[in-house]
C-alpha cells in the first residue's frame, strides 16, 4: 500500500527587530541660553547746556567763572546763572550724589571778621533727571562740606541738566550786604551710582 506524502509548512510571523537605542514616535530636547547685564552707570563731562548764560564767562575745562560776582557800586552780589548738561545712563535703580566742598561760594585765604560784610555767597542748584527736579540749596550759613542724594527708582538715559543760580544781593551776611574783597570759590562733584 502506498501512502501520499504530507507536508507541514513552518511559519514564523511578525518578528519585530529590536533596537539597541531608545526610540519613540517623538522626542524633545531643550537648550538654555544664559547671560547677564551688570549694573552700570555712565557719566560724561559737563558741557554748557541750553539754558541762559548770565554773568558767567565762557568756560575753559571744568572751571566756571562768574564774570563779576559783586556790583562795583553796591558791593553786594550780582545775579549769575548758567546751565550745565552731562550725558548719563544708568541701567537700573540708581542715585545722584551732589557734593559741595563749602556749601556756598566762600572767600579764599585768611578769614575776615568784618562786621556787616559777607564772606560767603549762597547759590541754588536746580537738577533735572529722570522725572526728578530737585532744587538743592547751598546756603553758605556754615563753611562745610555738604552732600545731597537724589534717588531714582528706574533706569534712565539722557542728559542731566544742572542749573547754577546766584540771586542778586545773596550773601551770608544778609540780602544786599557788601562783600569782602577776595576770591570766592566752591567745588561741586556730581556722581551717578547704581543701587
Amino acid at each position: 500500500m502506498i501512502h501520499a506524502p504530507s507536508f507541514t509548512a513552518l511559519s514564523v510571523v511578525a518578528l519585530t527587530i529590536g533596537l539597541a537605542a531608545p526610540a519613540t514616535a517623538q522626542q524633545a530636547q531643550g537648550v538654555t541660553l544664559e547671560g547677564s547685564a551688570d549694573r552700570l552707570c555712565v557719566l560724561s563731562a559737563p558741557e554748557l547746556g541750553a539754558g541762559p548764560l548770565e554773568n558767567f564767562s565762557v568756560p575753559t575745562g571744568s572751571v566756571y567763572s562768574v564774570e563779576q560776582l559783586a556790583d562795583p557800586n553796591t558791593l553786594t552780589t550780582r545775579a549769575a546763572r548758567m546751565t550745565l548738561s552731562m550725558a548719563a545712563m544708568c541701567n537700573g535703580v540708581h542715585r545722584l550724589v551732589v557734593t559741595s566742598e563749602n556749601s556756598g561760594l566762600w572767600r579764599q585765604g585768611t578769614p575776615s571778621s568784618a562786621v556787616g560784610f559777607g564772606t560767603g555767597v549762597p547759590y541754588r542748584l536746580n537738577l533735572a533727571w529722570a522725572d526728578e527736579n530737585p532744587s538743592l540749596n547751598a546756603d553758605a550759613s556754615i563753611r562745610q562740606a555738604r552732600q545731597w542724594l537724589v534717588l531714582v527708582g528706574r533706569p534712565n538715559a539722557g542728559a542731566i541738566e544742572l542749573e547754577f543760580e546766584i540771586d542778586a544781593g545773596a550773601t551770608n551776611a544778609g540780602t544786599g550786604a557788601p562783600m569782602v574783597a577776595g576770591a570766592y570759590a566752591d567745588v561741586l562733584t556730581l556722581t551717578v551710582e547704581s543701587q
Binding site: H3, V12, A28, G35, N91, N156
Partner: protein
Amino acid sequence: MTRKIMLLPALALMAAPSLGHAQVATEQSQTITVNGSVAPACALGAPADATLPIGALTGTDGRLKPALTGAGPAAQTTIANAWCNAPNKITLTSSPMTTNAANVTTPSNFSRLIAFTATLSGWKDPVVNTALSADRQVELASTTPHAATPLTVAFSALTPVIAGAAVSDAYIVAGDYKATITITLGIN
C-alpha cells in the same frame, strides 16, 4: 516438477512524519516563511551642553556687546544622536531672553527682552528661528529618513526688543537674562 514464485510489492518510504508511512525520494524541501516589521521611530539625544552661559551681555556703554550681535555664533552646542527612519518633522521652538530684574518703569530707550537667531543645522536643511516676542515655532518636514551628523544648535545675532520690534541701539536693563529653546523630532 512445479516451482512457486513469490512476488513482493515495492515499499514506498514516506518523508512525512505520519507514523507508519514512508516514501523514498532523491531530494525534498520544506518552506519556512519569516517576516517582520520595523516601526517608524525617531531618536533625539541630549545636547552636549544643556545650558550655554555667555556671561556679560553688555559693554561699557550699557548696550549689547558687538561680538554678540553679529552673524557668528555667540554660543553653540551639538546633539550627536538624532535620526528618524521614516517621514519626519523637526521643530524648533524659541522665544526671546527675559530678565529677572524688578519690573519698574522702563524708559523707551531701554529693553528688558533680548531676541536672538537660533539655528539648527545638520538635518536635511537648516532650521532658523528669530522669535521677537512670544514662543514661535519653525518646522521642517521631510519625506525621507535622515540621520544627523551631528545636529548643531547655534545662537547668534542678539538684539534688544522694544514693543515687539528690534531696536539695535537700545540700552539693556540690568539683570540676569535667560531663554530656553526646544527641539522636537517626530514621525510625520
